[in-house]
């Protein structure tokens, strides 16, 4: 639980600012958490019609019992541009077929 609290804190920071620094802090917290699965929730059925579609998409993170732990954005803001950030979820498994 303690570990997941740190992760939730890191996720909160990410929602306010999607910087490299916050993503690295999130990556470290993820390694020490109970999170095992992810599911990406898309805006606009996955079609990136505009940049907001990526910035509105997010990942739900679950523990081994498929209990929702937290939600994180899946992009990072770099100098004047936005990039995806799914690489920071490496080590997790996709939660297929979970409603």
């Amino acid at each position: 639980m303690q570990n997941n609290s740190k992760l939730q804190g890191a996720a909160k920071s990410l929602w306010s600012e999607q910087s490299e620094k916050n993503w690295k802090a999130f990556g470290a917290a993820l390694k020490n958490s109970n999170v095992r699965y992810y599911r990406i929730m898309f805006a606009n059925e996955g079609h990136l019609n505009k940049m907001q579609d990526l910035t509105k998409s997010f990942a739900e993170l679950y523990d081994a019992r498929y209990k929702l732990v937290t939600k994180v954005p899946i992009f990072k803001s770099e100098k004047n541009r936005i990039r995806g950030a799914t690489i920071y979820l490496s080590g997790l498994q996709v939660a297929n077929g979970v409603d």
């Binding site: 079609h47 990136l48 019609n49 690489i87 997790l92 297929n96």
Partner: protein, 267 residues
């Protein structure tokens, strides 16, 4: 002859041909690179390359990274690049969200590839497409020239008789090398099993779904399947009537979309 022996013999023939094409590419061109998507085909191609060159991949391997691939794919890339000692070039692909669906792949990936090809001066690019994947891919040659704008003139291609492949390229153009053209999906899986080639875990079923063809997170959907290992995947493929790329959104958009994309430089 037993079925298993027939499969082995068939794979041997395919393997020999692919290794021949890969070695020809290395011999004929000055600066070769290979594209690696971390999928089953391009990973099998790298395994064939290692077999062709005594356990090494003697050219750079390019991943066109749009930054929204699956986390499993990134982990697979990291682990296998380290294990096989790959000279990996990660080419950052911009996401241009004003381009929808197929146009996203059709513009972003070739643009990034153009940049990396110009930067490194590659004159040949090994791509792991197969003829059975899509009608337009069936029109490819083993060695297929592209002009400086990456355009492919599929109505005017060199003949390839008696294993004599063209290495002629236009000024500033390049040649696409396709060593897996003759393989089909089951061949790839049989070979992966036979050679113990590492596999991206997304291909295996979890909670009743698996990915049969891998793209990025936004344009790939899993299909219903209970196949949890390669044996079960092969068994499933022997009876399925679904197309391999049925989970790829870009293939569904318009008739001939793939033909248009490939003519413009898509992989």
């Amino acid at each position: 002859m037993e079925l298993i022996e027939m499969i082995k013999q068939d794979l041997k023939t395919l393997e020999e041909k692919s290794i021949f094409v890969i070695r020809e590419a290395k011999l004929k061109f000055k600066n070769v690179a290979a594209l690696w998507s971390m999928g089953k085909d391009s990973t099998a191609m790298l395994a064939l390359t290692r077999k062709a060159f005594l356990g090494k991949v003697p050219f750079p391997v390019i991943h066109i990274d749009n930054s929204i691939d699956f986390p499993e794919t990134y982990k697979f890339r990291k682990d296998l690049a380290k294990k096989w000692g790959l000279n990996l070039i990660v080419a950052d692909s911009e996401i241009k969200p004003d381009l929808v669906g197929a146009a996203c792949c059709g513009k972003n990936k070739p643009d990034t590839l153009k940049k990396v090809m110009n930067q490194y001066g590659f004159d040949a690019l090994i791509v792991s497409i197969r003829r059975d994947e899509h009608g337009i891919r069936a029109k490819e040659r083993y060695m297929s020239p592209r002009d400086k704008n990456f355009k492919w003139d599929y109505k005017n291609q060199p003949v390839e008789l008696w294993d004599d492949y063209s290495s002629k390229i236009d000024a500033k153009g390049h040649v696409r090398v396709h060593p897996l053209l003759d393989w089909n999906e089951i061949d790839i899986w049989n070979y992966t099993r036979q050679e113990h080639i590492p596999v991206n875990p997304l291909y295996f079923s979890r909670n009743g779904y698996r990915y049969r063809s891998l793209g990025c997170t936004h344009c790939t959907v899993p299909l219903k399947s209970s196949a949890k290992n390669i044996d079960e995947i092969i068994k499933e493929l022997e009876t399925t009537t679904d197309e391999e790329r049925s989970g790829r959104n870009m293939d569904k958009e318009r008739e001939y979309v793939m033909q248009k994309l490939r003519a413009l430089g898509y992989l």
